[in-house]
Symmetry: C2
């Protein structure tokens, strides 16, 4: 497989790998420059307090503007404070919201048009040139795994750790008051049918290491089994002293091309054979907390 | 996407689905015949008692004959009784064995040649005709997800719930005394580098809903965190009254082709758009316990 990154960058990177091998992912990250990273906008971050920790989510208004706006309204008005994790289905999803389904949505909308896909035009899409079972073209937009149909439509993929909108059977029945994340092998058949609104940057283990629900679809059968969500806050509403800052590798920068190649050709640390390919959902975009000054 | 199953079977199946849609997976299973299923051989089953339940594993000697034979020796001599789950790494693997790495392997071999792949000839391979990032050809052998390089080599894929052999950096350092299973998006870069020996038929949630280890690579840092494995028995050593019987859909029978098509074209129960494709590791082969008479 031909390296995706420019030879000039390869020359820099091979300084770290004396053998005739491609650089590894650690080499790529070590050789990256500030310009290869972007700071996550606190206006698009959710802090969700669950169990002993906090799940940090980055919202993606470029994919689902109506849903993201509605979720921000719900969060600001405290809708998710006291919500619960209601469903943990093995090798599928963890889902949260108001278990009674009766809590007022306040000034948020109760239903929205489905935003499962959108026009590809206007998104900064970087293809990764890998074969994919679900779409002719896959890659990344602003750090979010994305697929395209080659006919003008694009959608965020339901990879492990994506955050998407639960709804009823009708496609227009979702609001963002019920959210879920894939916790097993990516359920990509949800693509184009459900509306992803973001991805989890940190704290995924708070949603995956939970007892599986024994009811239908993995819902918890007893009220006491539901896991409390103490509070959800928007990043801009978190006091400066409590705020977390994150950097995500720019998926349209040269370093990311080198990262993809490194993942597609692992041949060190006990690996003899690089497979020469990598699945879209196995490309976890490098994400790191920024140390406070 | 053209249906993979014969039209005669389609005629039978569409009786269940009056609309002009492909049959769903439930329709396919309902319409299947006894000949579409095989009984799992108790000589290739492991009963691993963990926490409140039992993990049932089917071994695959056709892929890793030396490792499977060695594991059977270890099991019969009680090596795994009192072993522990030592590592749970988020979106990667759960791993178990002897945490001290000092327990005698008895009459089992301490190291074996790597059995990460084998000659494709001699395996009953059914292709699924789906695009795959890691291999030119993917399908199933006796219910095990399998890839081929088109040049005569075949290997079991590291899908969610596969059981594979832990080892050191040297490819020939494994024995089967240390085993792991993928618990997140399939780490297919392990293919051809690590030796799968089977897959989990039941009880996967006993290995996934565990606290993630906080040490390097997700190892538990405290002895008390390790999860005890009370006992592991070979199916043929389990008394008849305690035995569990399982049926697995034959992956070389027509019903399985219909099952693949149903998964690749979900268009009911809230799904509007069938994606026209399915990832190898999203094809969980129908597996069911057999009711006792």
């Amino acid at each position: 497989m031909r390296p995706l990154f420019p030879l000039a960058l390869l020359a820099t990177l091979t300084a770290f790998a004396p053998a005739a091998k491609l650089p590894g992912t650690a080499d790529v990250i070590a050789a990256s420059k500030p310009v290869d990273w972007r700071r996550v906008d606190p206006a698009n971050m959710l802090y969700m307090e669950v169990g002993p920790g906090t799940v940090i989510i980055e919202l993606a208004p470029q994919f689902a503007p109506l849903h993201v706006a509605n979720i921000k309204t719900l969060v600001r008005e405290g809708f998710f404070n006291g919500a619960t994790i209601n469903r943990v289905q093995e090798n599928y999803v963890t889902q949260w919201g108001d278990a009674t389904e009766k809590k007022s949505l306040g000034s948020a909308k109760a239903t929205l048009p489905l935003e499962a896909e959108r026009a590809a035009a206007g998104l900064s899409f970087t293809p990764i040139r890998q074969r994919d079972a679900y779409a002719p073209e896959v890659g990344f937009v602003d750090g979010f795994a994305t697929a395209r149909d080659g006919k003008g439509q694009a959608w965020m993929a339901h990879c492990y750790g994506a955050v998407s909108v639960g709804r009823g059977e009708s496609p227009e029945s979702g609001s963002g008051a019920e959210l879920f994340t894939p916790i097993g092998h990516a359920p990509r058949h949800l693509d184009r049918n459900y509306a992803p609104v973001g991805r989890i940057l940190e704290g995924m283990e708070l949603l995956t290491a939970l007892p599986r629900g024994t009811g239908q679809l993995g819902f918890y059968e007893q009220e006491a089994q539901r896991v409390p969500i103490r509070r959800v806050r928007l990043g801009t509403d978190v006091p400066a002293t409590e705020r977390r800052e994150f950097e995500v590798m720019r998926t349209d920068a040269p370093a990311f091309g080198a990262f993809v190649d490194a993942r597609a050709n692992r041949d060190r640390d006990g690996f003899m054979i690089g497979m020469g390919g990598v699945d879209l959902c196995n490309l976890r975009v490098p994400t790191r907390p920024v140390a406070k000054p």
